[in-house]
Every structure is written in C-alpha cells, then in structure tokens.
Amino acid sequence: MINASLKQLSAQLAQKKISSVELTQFHLDRIARLNPGLNAFVTVDAARSLAQARAADARIAAGKAQPLTGIPVAHKDIFCAKGWLTTCGSKMLANFVSPYDAHVVERLNAAGAVILGKTNMDEFAMGSSSETSFWGPVRNPWDQTRVPGGSSGGSAAAVAARMAPAAIGTDTGGSIRQPAALSGICGLKPTYGVVSRYGMIAFASSLDQGGPMAKSAEDLALMLNIMAGFDARDSTSLERPAEDYARVLEAPPRGDRAKPLRGLRIGAPKEYFGAGLGSDVGAAVEAALAQFEKLGAQRVAVNLPNAALSVPAYYVIAPAEASSNLSRFDGVRYGYRATDYADLADMYRKSRAQGFGAEVKRRILIGTYVLSHGYYDAYYLKAQKIRRLIAQDFVQAYEQCDLIMGPTSPNVAFTLGAKASDPVEMYLNDIYTVAANLAGLPAMSIPCGFGEGGMPVGLQLAGNYFTEARMLQAAHRYQLATDWHLRQPAGVE
C-alpha cells in the first residue's frame, strides 16, 4: 500500500477495499513509528483527521466521492487550517491556532481529502535545509544524518518515508523542488497565480506559490487539479478556465509507440551544467536527458545568459518583501509576546528578537537594508530590472524549446549543519530553482537517479507559462519508462 498511487488508492476506496479511516489510521501509525526519527510532522491530530476520514467514508458510501475523497494529505505548516495549530516553523506563531482555512485547504477539504497533519519546515519558509525550524530540523529518510532540503522538507520527508501518500508545499525560490530532489520525490511549482496564496503565510509575495508534492507526476497532476483555481481573495490569482492537468498524461503517441515524446524539444542550458554542479548529479541528469531522447524528445541548445544573476537578485527581492510581510508579527494581536518589557518599543524589540530565529532575522535585516532610503535604487530596483532580464531570457529560450531540463540542485542532500554557518553556500543551493520564481514560470522536480552516498538526484523540468500539463506529461512518460520514482529509502517498509 505504501507505494500505491493516488489513482490506485482512490480506486480501492471506491471499491470499498479500504476505508478512508483505515487509510488514515495506517498513515497515522506510520507517523507514530517514523516521525520521532525524522521530525517531518510538527502537529498531528488523530481525532481531527479521523473525523474527516469518517466524513469521507460517508461521502464515498453515498456515491458522492470526487477524486482524492478520503485520501490523507500532509500540509506544510505554512497553510492556515481552521482549528489547527499553524506555526510556520516559528516560535513567533508557536501558539497560533488559525481561525480560517487557506484557499488550498478549503479546496482539499471540499474535495474530501483528509488533513493528515502539519509538516515541519524552515522558519517562515526561509531556508534550503529545513534546519531553521523552531521545532528542530527535519531528517532525510534516505540518511538521517542528512537534511531533506527545504523549506518544504517536512512534506518531502513525509512522502519519501511513505508517512503520507501526498503533501502540499510552497515554493518561493525552490522550496518544493529542492526538497523533492533531495528526498527522492516529485514536486511541482505551478505558474505564479495558478494556486491562490490566500491563507498561505507570506514569505515573499511576488514569488510564493503553493504546489503539490507526491511520488509521481500522475499524483502531482491529480493534486494540482484540486489545488489550482481562481480565488477572488488573492489579487494575483489568475482567472482562467479550470484545467485538467492529467488530461494529456497518457495521450496516445502519434506514430512510433516507443517514442511517445517525439516532437518535444528539450533545452538544456549550458549555464545549468557549469562549475558548481556535482559530477554525480551531472551524470544522473545527463542519463535522464538521454532517456528523454530515447523517448523521442529532441535536445536543442538554449541560453539563459543572466542565469548567474538569479541568486543575487532573488536574495534582494525575497528578503525585501519578507521584511515587510513579517512586520505583522509584532506581539500585539497574536503570536509570541515577550514577557518583560519597559515600553512599546521594547516590547516590539524583545518579542521579535525572541520570537524569530537567526535566519529570519538575517533576511529581515537584508530586506530592510535594501529598501532603505539611499539603497533602494542600487539594490531593490536593480534586482527588479535583473528580474525582467531573466524573464526575457526564458521568453527567448521558449521560442527554441518546449521544456528546459537540468539539475534541480547542484548536489545531493548534505549533512545536517554542513552549511548552517555559511549562508552564501546555503543560498547557492537555489541556483537552478530561483529563476522560475523570478519569472513566475512553472517548474518541477522528479527523481532521476542516485549520487554520492546513494542519495537521490532530482531532474528539474521547467516550462513556459501555463504548460504544467505538458511538463507533467513528459515527466509521466519518463516515469512509465523508468522506476527512479518508485525507489524508497531503506527502513521505511
């Protein structure tokens, strides 16, 4: 059962071979067994989850099931869920019980999915290792001395260790794709505006996008079908006709059945294969590209000349927005407030000094600095100009190719603490992922092999705006021909 796809689980639920209560309990039991070592979940509320599961069973019995009805899903602790502790991995919100549901949560609830629990994450999604959480670091199920990636590391580890059939995460600079790669699962960041940000605690508003994390491209498509959709409460939500992201997954290939991806042009920008890329990761990605060619795809040359500027631009824009977004955490209305303070200014100072961790403070400081009078033009405005150049690079590249492929992360998962003392080294982990956020483009990561220490390697597939279905189709065809996505870490059986 732990390797069953969402489609298979839905079928078993529909055929009453298993109930949602049993499925939920099964995963709760796995969490109870595996989570103490992995620390992937920060909040589990069995009674609440099982109540939802019972409701799902009733719905299935009444013949009113939808796709995902009765399926347990792990929620990154950044999504507000009514009645659930929603902490965003921070002491600042360690006592915050959300009085409302995020749009994504509403949609999953409406579909009859079960909230399996809230997953650990880097504090306020700021990190690439899931080590900055107030609740302690998440460990990689493939090797518990290593990080699972971040910031959605809890969701990634939950799926990798088969504690959850699927999970939801958020991606501001790679926070879905990078942990998916480092934990050997699949994750997709949709086009900016496809998934509503309402109720998703903001890190960097112009970059944040929610998305699914699961074992396969097919599962991602089914999850995205529920998560995507216009929401009037998010002004950046896009009003488009509903789309079935699974519609072309198994579209019959024209012509040669062995080459179902004939006609697909894949760009592999040389900028993604240069210095800094681990040779183990490079080799796995090259093998994957060869596999795509075998399936009929054609490899074309594309350039992303401004790729090297994406990390510097990102680490100006994201902290700038974060410094403002996190101002609401002031100890006045909810969340953490210091106990001893002399006056108002002292209360602000102490509450924020004690409530935020070091990485969050670092980014608030950077963001405050780049927005300050006299520095705004040199940093923030300049970064915005670079952002436009990067987006233009993609526009030009997508005239030559349909998908861009390359490594998701330059290296496999590193050991806990290895990069904790060097923020720049940590930030370089995002080198292949942040560009998609800056340009608002969709991108995903799928497992494509193993590297150093037997750790998973992720292949990044990126597409033009609104080409999620095409990306998923290519990934699905790859997964029909390979089994990297079916591998699971030892010790989780």
Binding site: C80, R197, T368, L371
Partner: protein, 509 residues
C-alpha cells in the same frame, strides 16, 4: 521685516464606500471597538488585500472634478512602520504613481478669485485607533496604564489630496479647505463629517521675507479636524516662526500637533526622528489599471460642478457673485434654488435667490443647520413667492408667513424630487395649502378689491383736504402722506400698488 506666509495642505478625505478599501468589513462610524475588523483588517497570517473598486471610482470622480490627470496606471505601495494601530506593520498607500495627478481648485476670497494648484491625490488605507487609559476616558474597560486598540477604522478608504504651497494666509487656507470640503460632498465621495474624522487636514506652514523666491523651512501641523483649528493653528504657527526668525533663530523642520485647549502647536517629531518608510510596490496588489472607458463613464455621470454652476448663475441668471456663491455652497443649496426656479420660471430667479440668500440663509444660520434640513421646503418657499406675486400678501407680510412656517414643527416637508410642478391653482398641493392656511390664520391677506379700496380712499381724501391741496399745488411728498393714510385705514392690508393707482386716478379728476 515684512513676512510672507506660505501654506500647502494635505487633506485626508474618507471615501464614502460601504466597505473598506481592501476588505469586506463595514466602514460605519461609531460601532463597538473591533466589531468591524475582519481577518484582513487585523492582519492575520496569510490574509491578502483586495481593492475596493468603489474607492477607485470615487478617486477618479474627484480627479475629474478638479481637472486633474487620471493616471491610467497607478501603483499601490507599502509604507512600512511599526505602530500598534497599524496591524500589518505597513500602510498600503500610493507613492510614486498616484491615481490622480495635478488639477486645481478655485475659490472666492476677499481679494477675488484664488486658484490653488493640486499636486496629486492618492488612495490609501486608514490606520486603527489607539485608546489610552486616562481620566474621563469612556472606555473604562482599560485598566490603569494600558492602551486599547480599536481596528474598526483600520482599512477605511482615504483619498489624500495634496496641494502645491499656493496659499498665503490662514484665511486662504480655510477658504481652500471649505471649498474642497464642499466639493467632496458635492460629488458624493465623502460625507465631510469632520467630528467623525471623515475630513482632516495637515497644514505645511513656512514663512519667508516678502519678495523672496526661496521657501522657508516648513513645519507640518497634523490632523486638524475643524476649520477653526486650521485657522488658529496656522496663525499660531506663523507667529511662532516669525518670532523665532526675528530673534535670530531658525525654524526646525518638524511635525507638530495643534493643542486646541492651549491654542498652540507643539513638536511631535523632528526631521531626524522621521521614519524611513521604505516604500516599495505592494506585491500583493497588481498595478491599478483604469481604462479610458471607465474614466469616460465616470465623467459622464459627474454632476454640474459648483464652479460651473456659480458661473452659470452669474452669466445666465444675472445673479451677483455673492448670491451665486451662497447658492452653490452645497449641492443641496443649488438643488433647493433650482427646484424653485423650475417651479416659478426664469422671471422669478432673482426673487428665489433673494429669499434663499437673505431670509432662508439667516434662519438656517440661526438654527445652526444646513439648507437641506430646512423645515421650509423649496416648494413652500416657491408658493410664498407666488402669493406675493399674485398680490395676496405684501413682501412685508411674506416674511411673517415665512417665520410662522419655519417655526411650525409639524409641517409636512415636501419632497424636493417630487414630480415637476406646475404651480397651477387647480393642482392639489400641500405646500400651497400650508402657505394659504398661514396667511389666513395670521390675517395677512391684502385687500386687492378695487371697489373696497376706492371707498376707503374717497374717505381718506375727504379727511385730508390739506394734503390734497398741497399735492395739487405740486408737492409730491403730499402724495406719500395720502398713501400712508390709506394704508393706515386698511390696517396695512391694502395692496400698495393698487392704492397708488387708485389715488392717482382720483386725484387726476
């Protein structure tokens, strides 16, 4: 030294939308603390702003009314600072690209017409309110030393209207503020209630030697919520700055508050203490794009504006600048006037204007109300003029009727928008009945019966032979004496015009 005062004004006009600018919560004034603050207003984690189109529409209406440019694309920015009544830690405002740019406002001041140029007008949200525990504070739930936060006002839509430094005295500043106040109410974008904070002004005041082209260092006096405070604060501030400079000191650029009890301004924060607001475009809101069609639609729905009306009243109706000014002080005044003119026709224009600007304006002022609340309706006043015109009563008696009508409490006030009216006597009219009943009750009806008047005059002439002889000898004054006697004989109710005519006719025999 001869000093010149230079004033610029920033006004926060609360836009009259039902809900807030970025949330669905109500904007009604006076609710219990925090009952009109939703998740967005209290800035829960994860919530997002959604722009209220009604606020944009009102901002555009204002821009068109002052002849400004409407920016087809404007941008909302975050103004970052910490304060407990600012839940997000930033205020959403417009910074580099406001919705309205330029424009001007003209007004009558004692030296004639004055034009004040506008720099810009931009949309923003209001903050909440901090309630500090203090003796006499109605919010007794606050225990000693604590402050309460009421977020009902947080997110209320404001239009901040900024002028160039074009005013040269407190009087001009007040004239500008009053004209702006009248305009925002006229075009229906703000209720103008100053006690409730719907219209508040900040004054930027500086002085310089007369003739100097360089502006002096300015001080900003914040949150003046009455015209009187605006005037007092500016006058105090001008004196303070002049005294400082004449004593060899310098004015420090700072933000000051006006204390109406002490009638003085005092320092709130200096330039050095000024915040770095770290403005940047709000990534939660897309740039505000306004289509040409939307602008034209709003333009087509604009009412005739006070200045245009004032000019029309002067040019077309031949009214004085003063009368035209009073009649266009508010939209209600103009509607009252135009309703009367509609009923009585063009020949009665001057009579209508006179009655409104003299008798009605005096009564309204005494009562401390607006013409819109007048117990005497425009239809009633029109009937009063009809009764003067048709000789039923004299102008003198009409004033008594007006007073009686004003004081009667249970007068049915005719609706201004009632179907348009001909004042035909066969038409049933409650207003006409009101007038006629009062004339009847007060016994003010004139004697216009020629036969009856002739009888009286014959008797008067018989009793005043001396005056008759003097008149015939060429003494014109004697005629007036005879008219007076005839009026006396009719107890003042004789129609003076008829008496004049009959006297002349008989004397000419």
């Amino acid at each position: 030294m001869d000093w010149e005062t230079v004033i610029g004004i920033e006004t926060h006009a609360q836009l009259s939308t039902v809900s807030k600018i970025f949330s669905g919560a109500a904007t009604r004034f006076g609710a219990a603390p925090n009952v009109q603050a939703c998740a967005v207003d209290i800035a829960l984690p994860g919530v997002l702003p959604v722009l209220n189109k009604g606020a944009v529409e009102r901002a555009v209406r204002f821009g068109l009314a002052v002849g400004a440019d409407i920016n087809r694309r404007s941008v909302f920015a975050r103004k970052n600072y910490f304060y407990p009544d600012l839940p997000k830690g930033y205020q959403i405002s417009q910074y580099e690209l406001p919705v309205v740019r330029g424009g001007s406002l003209s007004m009558l001041v004692k030296d004639g017409e004055k034009t004040v140029r506008l720099t810009r007008a931009h949309l923003e949200e209001d903050a909440g309110k901090s309630l500090h525990e203090a003796a006499g504070n109605a919010h007794s739930a606050l225990s000693h030393g604590m402050s309460g936060i009421d977020l009902n006002r947080a997110g209320t839509p404001l239009l901040e209207i900024v002028t160039e430094p074009d005013m040269r005295s407190a009087e001009e500043a007040v004239a500008y503020a009053k004209t702006l106040h009248a305009l925002v109410r006229w075009i229906g974008i703000c209720d103008g209630n100053m006690q409730e904070g719907s219209f508040r002004c900040d004054a930027n005041v500086s002085v310089r030697p007369r003739g100097s082209a360089v502006l002096g260092t300015r001080c900003e006096i914040k949150n003046l919520n009455s015209f009187r405070f605006l005037e007092e604060a500016i006058n105090y501030e001008v004196r303070r700055q002049i005294e400082l400079l004449e004593d060899g000191g310098t004015v420090a650029q700072e933000t000051r508050l006006y204390d109406p009890d002490r009638r003085e301004t005092r320092s709130m924060r200096s330039k050095e203490e000024a915040h770095d607001y770290r403005y940047f475009p709000d990534p939660d809101l897309l740039p505000l794009d306004i289509s040409a069609e939307t602008i034209e639609q709003i333009r087509s729905e604009l009412p005739e504006l006070p200045q245009a009306k004032r000019e029309r009243y002067q040019n077309d109706f031949g009214l004085s600048a003063y009368d035209a000014g009073v009649l266009t002080q508010s939209r209600e005044n103009a509607e009252y006037f135009e309703d009367m003119v509609n009923r009585l026709g063009r020949p009665a224009v001057k009579a209508c204007a006179n009655w409104i600007t003299v008798e009605l304006a005096a009564a309204v002022n005494r009562a401390g109300i607006e013409i819109a609340q007048s117990p005497v309706s425009s239809e009633q006043l029109a009937w009063l003029i009809v009764r003067i015109d048709d000789g039923t009563i004299s102008s003198r008696a009409a004033k008594d009727v007006f007073q009686a009508l004003w004081q009667r409490e249970n007068i049915a006030v005719a609706v201004l928008s009632a179907p348009r009216p001909s004042l035909h006597s066969s038409v049933k009219s409650a207003a006409r009945d009101d007038i006629d009943n009062i004339i009847e009750q007060l016994g003010l009806k004139q004697i216009s019966d020629t036969g009856a008047l002739e009888d009286v005059i014959v008797q008067v002439l018989a009793a005043n032979q001396k005056s008759v002889e003097e008149y015939r000898a060429g003494k014109e004054k004697a005629f007036n004496a005879l008219v007076g006697q005839a009026m006396k004989a009719t107890k003042g109710k004789g129609n003076p015009a008829l008496i004049n005519g009959i006297l002349k006719k008989i004397l000419a025999r």
